[in-house]
Symmetry: C2
Subunit: 212 residues, 2 copies
């Protein structure tokens, strides 16, 4: 199909498609004449992926490029595709937090990981995110939330097992990498949404009066 | 304490504190002379809350104002404080999705809610977010993720029950509202981080080779 049809089918404007081509997010079409290229279903699929990561996942163009590069590099392992997604989604930690509170929280995360028996690399940026959150909770005196950490971790293990079962059910390295990426990024949004729905349900049971 | 000390204690610059005062995020201090006001621990606490919501939760100033207004209004129920947090965190749904795919996904969400026995108001914006994610997954052919929806929902119920237990353990309406807000916003980030750590653990077990 030509670019006009690609735009019509996907609902993405021609200007935006051209921008994604320039930025290297979308592979070029097959050149059919000096001024024309042809696009196929792989482009339709890729555009849907890009728009989902941006619209729903909240990723920036730079983030999307990083995770798509990981997907598109054949010798990048599944593990590294997920790693790229993690990096893309990991907010930079404010410099002010290289303090005592953060160090204490980092130990808390290490101890949690040991209690759960998780075998992880040392350098995961995700450890730093978890420690950052715990340091903030501690500094705000939100000890009840911290006390519930193991309950949350147990539920999260169930989620991660489901994640891996989903990825294992998909055939082929590229499709599997895409599922891992989409499942992680859009999955976070879905899990957060369902968490609020379930909260609303249990909250109405526990705080039936209007004054909470 | 004076503003300079408030800045020193919290690590938030005087310019930023003045901005939060102007924007109504931080209540004014007690006026001690025509050009001076005194601040106390409630201001320290509030600044930590504001910075956490912005730095970790990714909320905008407008979002923070909305959720703090809900917390600060005494006759707003616990339920409505959480509702305000949900609204603040709910991305506006792109207009393009009032289509067939979205309608189908909205039915999927209704059916999920019925299967789980969740009793919810009809108009929750969270339903729309969940439907939006499902519509995107469906349009990308990510059926394995959709198939795992009930596994995710079961895990999320465990999380929501822990959330409610945390909130119930906190005494006093204001402290409880703050915990509900912080637990939801920072909790999402913590859950996403732990999900990646658990994924990494199970992924290394399931895909031990470097080619995934």
């Amino acid at each position: 199909m030509r670019m006009a049809e690609l735009s019509r089918v996907t609902g993405v404007s021609v200007a935006t498609i051209k921008y994604y081509l320039r930025e290297g997010l979308l592979p070029p079409g097959e050149v059919s004449s000096p001024n024309q290229a042809r696009y196929d279903d792989s482009h339709v699929r890729r555009l849907a992926l890009i728009r989902s990561l941006i619209d729903v996942g909240g990723l920036s163009i730079a983030d999307v490029r990083r995770v798509l590069t990981a997907i598109d590099t054949p010798d990048v392992s599944m593990h590294d595709v997920l790693g790229a997604a993690v990096h893309a989604l990991t907010p930079p930690r404010p410099a002010a937090d290289s303090d005592e509170g953060y160090q204490k929280a980092a130990v808390m995360v290490d101890e949690l990981i040991a209690r759960r028996g998780w075998r992880l690399g040392d350098a995961s940026p995700t450890r730093a995110v978890a420690a950052e959150v715990l340091a903030r909770l501690d500094s705000m005196g939100q000890y009840e939330i911290i006390r519930a950490l193991d309950s949350y971790a147990a539920a999260v293990e169930t989620i991660a097992k489901a994640d891996l079962a989903v990825v294992a059910a998909v055939e082929g390295r590229d499709a599997r990498a895409e599922t891992a990426l989409v499942g992680t990024v859009l999955g976070d949004v879905l899990i957060a949404a369902m968490r609020r729905l379930a909260q609303e349900h249990f909250s109405a049971q526990q705080f039936p009066s209007s004054t909470g």
